[in-house]
């Protein structure tokens, strides 16, 4: 009896040591900066815990009041990535999201934090899922140079918007109420609305044409937005980007641009 108690105690110590090893083993790299999960934890507790929760599962105290819901880091499923659908994000993808924030959600830009602090946060966020230790993210998907935007490209894009069934969710006029829109849920089962391209609002994963191109290539994992990597050639994806640009109201676009400049990306 006594020996079994001693055994379970030493097992518990071993497990806790292994866990602490895992926390410290998780690193992140942005340029020359190396993130430290321990420092990241202190920052997380100060800035992130209210929404993303102490366990990183997106069940923080504010979560019930937020729509969309905070990311559940234990699933290691991220919308804004440069890697193919089904892959982990690169450190640089997480860094870009933290820096940019996610427009039209509760996630603000954390650009006010030091670069090193943001890199430390990434190292800690990666400790919430074992996936970051078991798998390597795929390579970033290539973004070839953008061909010139022309009426022909827009016309081809309009045809693809139809044939690729984009309209089933985003609607024929891009307003986000296609026939399937009402039934959409994210991977946690919460209702989710397709993007309204006429709103002139900033896109979640970045505002530039190449950000849009990348979204089409990678899909937004954890949402109904799929990857079009095998479905469309690179030229076709650029055509769709050009077409989507025409859907928004020019006035709304102008104000969105000043908004984007005010918060600007790094």
């Amino acid at each position: 009896m006594r020996s079994s108690v001693r055994f379970s105690m030493s097992a518990a110590i071993l497990i806790s040591l292994l866990c602490s090893a895992a926390v410290i083993a998780q690193e992140s790299h942005i340029g020359n900066l190396v993130g430290n999960a321990k420092s990241g934890k202190a920052l997380y507790v100060r800035y992130c815990i209210f929404c993303h929760g102490p366990n990183g599962d997106g069940r923080g105290e504010s979560a019930p009041y937020l729509d969309p819901k905070p990311r559940d880091f234990t699933k290691a499923l991220f919308k804004c990535r440069s890697t193919p659908s089904g892959n982990l994000p690169l450190d640089s993808d997480l860094y870009d999201t933290i820096t940019r924030g996610i427009h039209a959600s509760g996630m603000p830009s954390w650009k006010p934090l030091l670069k090193q602090e943001r890199v430390d946060l990434i190292a800690y966020i990666k400790t919430f899922s074992s996936a970051f230790q078991e798998e390597k993210p795929g390579p970033a998907m290539p973004i070839p140079p953008e061909p010139p935007n022309s009426p022909e490209s827009v016309k081809r894009g309009a045809e693809l918007f139809q044939s690729m069934n984009c309209w089933q969710c985003h609607g024929k006029d891009g307003r986000g109420h296609g026939p399937s829109a009402a039934a959409l849920t994210d991977s946690q089962g919460n209702p989710i609305t397709p993007f309204d391209f006429t709103s002139g609002r900033r896109f979640k994963c970045g505002e530039s044409d190449s950000d849009m191109f990348r979204d089409l290539a990678t899909g937004l994992d954890g949402t109904p937005m799929p990857s079009f990597a095998t479905a469309m050639t690179a030229d076709q994806r650029w055509d769709v980007v050009h077409y989507i640009r025409t859907l928004s109201n020019p006035k709304a676009r102008a104000s969105a641009k000043t908004d984007a400049n005010a918060h600007g990306n790094e």
């Binding site: 089904g86 996936a131 026939p179 399937s180 899909g219 994992d221 799929p226 990857s227 479905a231």
Partner: protein, 248 residues
């Protein structure tokens, strides 16, 4: 959690030294397929007891291509019961009792087809790391979106005729699959680490082939009705039969 220092490094090294040989011993036992003479088989039928549940009508009018593919009304495939009470789309598999744990995935890919804006088969069973060919035989564009718990989630658009190759690395029974473009579409992919599984056909029949002799727990899984288990012992060369009955 915050404990650190040389002690910890020393311990993890020690663990690694102990764990490594153990791992290499347990790994890579060859699949050792029983020779046909020794091989046993396990066949049987799954039945549904009670009034046949009514399936809901599917309205495909949102996509004219889907709509035109079905001259007759289409219904959901949650519980498919034959006239004699046989229950289709039930996954029957060995859930406990296998002594070997390493099985190479078959060379032949598993095929999951989108046809008439429905999944064919409605329930697919395959082995972990086996190649999965996703086929779109419809003229419309689908997106194939599995929602796993134990595997990586992916979501790919698939126009007509464009091949998609994927796989699942870990066992999971079963992964729901949906198409966000066509919200009525729903299917399942069951992933096993061994080859001893079977999905009942429209006669409710299943067939587990080349089962090595032994005592096993056999589980039958149905998407809406849950699971049932039975213990069975199979001798060398023996052909056993089993039956399962689900109720609502």
């Amino acid at each position: 959690m915050t404990k650190a220092g040389p002690m910890k490094n020393y311990l993890s090294l020690l663990i690694a030294v102990i764990a490594l040989p153990t791992l290499s011993l347990s790994g890579r036992v060859s699949a050792a397929p029983a020779s046909p003479a020794d091989a046993s088989s396990l066949t049987g039928q799954v039945k549904f007891e009670g009034a046949t549940p009514k399936q809901a009508r599917i309205d495909m009018s949102a996509d004219p291509i889907c709509f035109k593919a079905h001259p007759a009304p289409v219904t959901t495939e949650d519980i498919v019961v034959g006239t004699d009470g046989s229950l289709a789309n039930v996954v029957v598999y060995i859930s406990e009792g296998l002594t070997s744990h390493n099985f190479e995935p078959p060379q032949q890919p598993a095929v999951f087809e989108q046809k008439g804006c429905q999944y064919k088969p409605h329930v697919l069973a395959m082995q972990a790391n086996q190649k999965l060919d996703v086929v779109n035989s419809d003229e419309t564009t689908h997106n194939i979106h599995p929602s796993p718990n134990n595997n990586r989630e992916w979501n790919m658009t698939q126009p007509h005729g464009v091949p998609i190759e994927q796989t699942f690395a870990r066992e999971e029974i079963a992964i729901p699959v949906k198409c966000n473009v066509h919200p009525w579409m729903r299917g399942y992919i069951a992933v096993f680490k061994h080859p001893y599984f079977s999905v009942t056909d429209k006669n409710g029949s299943f067939n587990l082939k080349d089962v090595p002799p032994g005592t096993y727990t056999i589980t039958a899984w149905q998407e809406k009705l849950g699971t049932q288990t039975q213990k069975v012992t199979i001798g060398t060369g023996e052909a056993k039969t089993l039956s399962f009955t689900f109720k609502q």
